[in-house]
Amino acid sequence: MSAGSSAREVVLGRVRSALRGAERTSWEDVPRHYRRHRPAPDVVELFCERVADYRATVDRVPADGVGAAVVAAARRTGARRVLAPAGVPQQWCELLRAEFELVSDEDGIGTAELEQVDAVVTTAVVGIASTGTIVLDHGPGQGHRAVTLVPDVHVCVVTESQVADDVPDALRRLDPARPMTFISGPSATSDIELKRVEGVHGPRTLHVLVVPD
């Protein structure tokens, strides 16, 4: 490891000599006059609008209709095999099982098996109204990261109290120690003559259900 540690010393030494005589400012002195909150008259409504702007499907559903809405969303895509990760409410699972071949991720489902899954149903941890983003931290109900990546359809349930007004508000609610995925609409590319095409590698369909707590 001696070569490695010497590279470390050399780079740090170069940094220190480059900064010799430079003023070292303090983090607290960074001007932060930007908005830490961006309240909207109706944050949840704004969230729905902005998610829809990304060509995702958005529905607001009553608390007692979530299970049925999840099933309807999966049905719309023509899915047959549906995955519900551990932590998703039992009631949804029962309704899903009645109509689809229900797959679980209990024993750490592999990518080859995920390839055979048509749609995945998850919860989220945060929504961001100003940008129309959902955030997963891959805790219970959200599955490990590949689960919402490999299948072509993602149905995601966000509760109203999870909706943050803006990016700063959202980041304050999140724990950086967890792996996270911020999702804004379906996978997209504009690499060919800047023509937007949905779905290159990630899910081609994103369906967001917003429910009261």
Binding site: T111, M180, H201
Partner: protein
């Protein structure tokens, strides 16, 4: 290989490229203006973005050590690389240690800068680019020409031809009936790459941000290829320039607003992934960060020049630059094209080569890049600063601009790969070289460059104005 005059002649036909570029950059400009206009605190965000980066750079040693400790505590390993060669050696050794012979790659400027793919190939390791544009560039044996949309110089028919010809050589072939419809082309890429994602055991990425406090890395993307690479393989190696650090998690609240809006003109890019070390049961269980200097400390040592290290690679400055719009990215002879390339590359590589000496002149000093830059890098100031440096470092330097341009050209034409890339673009140099293949007399104000050695002030008539008057649309 054709001599320079013939090669220059071959480039003349590329009106298509200029058309594509003008179209593309004006579309992105419009989108960006719309979403930036949506935020009434944009000026304050920009001020904070610049200040956070300036602060980080002024304490970079402290933050690097803090980052290293945090990554290590989270189960990752940090490596340090003085230069490109060392970084490449580290990555090659890490891949070899896994016993694998291929890696999947997330689009990354840092790995392009160190020419990692070449180093891997030399070590018998295949590196597959998985970003659609990078795939087009790689399959086309080509070089990227834009930071954000590297294949912007290719049109859909060319892409179809490349896919048909090349995909089958390295994996799942393109379908026989592939058309030039972008949706069909994207579908072909999806099928081609899916196979590689599913079997890859090692991935290589860069990072958009690295959080010192937590050891968190951030990758911002659209397609999901990043997510594939960051989560499916067993080993992940991230090559990160030392200037990518931000002090704390909450600082991302500034950059996750500035970057997507400046870059693709979206409120947020489709996917942002963050990860901290390894997470048991989820994603790669072996994680390495290679912290890359490769000239960054040279830039840091320059009090004026160091502001270029604030760059978050959004590419907004490319999209507003009149010179970039006409020349395309290949003309810069730099991995970082456009205005930022013109100020960053000569600092990273030094200003001894003729190509690097010429870069600070690849601008009209019109100032559009400064206005649009989300971290307020004063690129025009930096250009003048670097011109002064070029002149002062070598007072005996008697090159005329034509010499400089010829050197740039000979660098481009001195290598088959660079030549192949350059042949498809309208190069800056050919504008000065006459159509008959002879060197035309330079009109004012270019003739002043030599006179201006001791006073490298902006010309009275900007290059842009001169260009419009003399050449605007003339080559179409």
């Amino acid at each position: 290989m054709p001599a320079f005059p013939q090669a220059a002649k071959q480039q003349l036909a590329n009106a298509q490229l200029r058309h594509n570029l003008a179209d593309a950059t004006s579309t992105i400009r419009r989108k960006r203006a719309d979403v930036v206009g949506e935020l009434d605190d944009w000026a304050q965000l920009r001020e904070a973005g610049a200040a956070i980066k300036t602060h980080t750079l002024s304490n970079l040693d402290t933050y690097l050590e803090q980052f290293e400790a945090a990554v290590t505590a989270a189960g990752g390993t940090v490596h340090w690389a003085r230069d490109a060669e060392e970084a490449n050696r580290i990555v090659v050794d890490l891949v070899r240690a896994t016993g694998e012979r291929e890696v999947v790659k997330v689009k990354s400027m840092a790995t392009q800068e160190i020419e990692l793919n070449d180093a891997l190939r030399a070590a018998g390791i295949d590196a597959w680019e998985t970003d659609l544009a990078e795939l087009i560039v790689q399959l086309g044996h080509d070089a990227p020409s834009h930071i954000l949309v590297p294949a912007i110089h290719r049109n859909r028919a060319e892409i179809r031809d490349i896919f048909r010809r090349e995909m089958g050589e390295v994996g799942t072939p393109a379908p026989d009936d592939l058309t030039d419809d972008p949706a069909r082309l994207a579908e072909a890429a999806r099928r081609h790459l899916r196979e590689k994602f599913l079997r890859a055991k090692v991935a290589v990425s860069g990072a958009n941000f690295a959080v010192a406090e937590t050891g968190t890395l951030v990758v911002v993307e659209s397609e999901g290829n990043g997510r594939m690479c960051l989560t499916l393989p067993e080993t992940l190696i991230s090559v990160v320039g030392i200037e990518k650090l931000v002090p704390r998690w909450e600082d991302l609240e500034v950059f996750l607003q500035l970057l997507p809006r400046s870059s693709t003109g979206e409120r947020m890019n489709p996917y942002t992934s963050t990860w901290t070390g390894v997470t048991p049961g989820d994603g790669p269980q072996s994680f390495h960060v290679v912290l890359l200097d490769n000239g960054r400390t040279n830039a840091l040592a320059d009090e004026v020049g160091r502001q270029a290290l604030r760059c978050i690679r959004c590419s907004a400055c490319l999209n507003v630059c009149p010179v970039y719009e006409r020349t395309g990215g290949h003309a810069y002879g730099s991995v970082y094209p456009g205005p930022i390339g013109a100020v960053l590359t000569p600092q990273l590589r030094g200003t001894t080569s003729e190509v690097d000496k010429a870069l600070p002149y690849a601008s009209s000093l019109c100032g559009a890049c400064y206005d649009v830059c989300p971290v307020a890098i004063n690129i025009p100031d930096l250009l003048v600063h670097l011109r002064t440096r070029v002149v002062e470092q070598d007072r005996g330097w008697r090159s005329t601009p034509v010499d400089v341009l010829m050197s740039l050209a000979s660098w481009v034409f001195g290598d088959a790969k660079r030549l192949a890339a350059a042949q498809r673009v309208a190069s800056w140099s050919r504008k000065v070289i006459g159509r008959k293949g002879t060197i035309g007399r330079l009109p004012p104000p270019l003739s002043r460059w030599t006179d201006a050695r001791d006073a490298p002030a902006p010309a009275e008539e900007s290059f842009r104005t001169w260009w419009e008057r003399n050449r605007g649309g003339g080559a179409r």
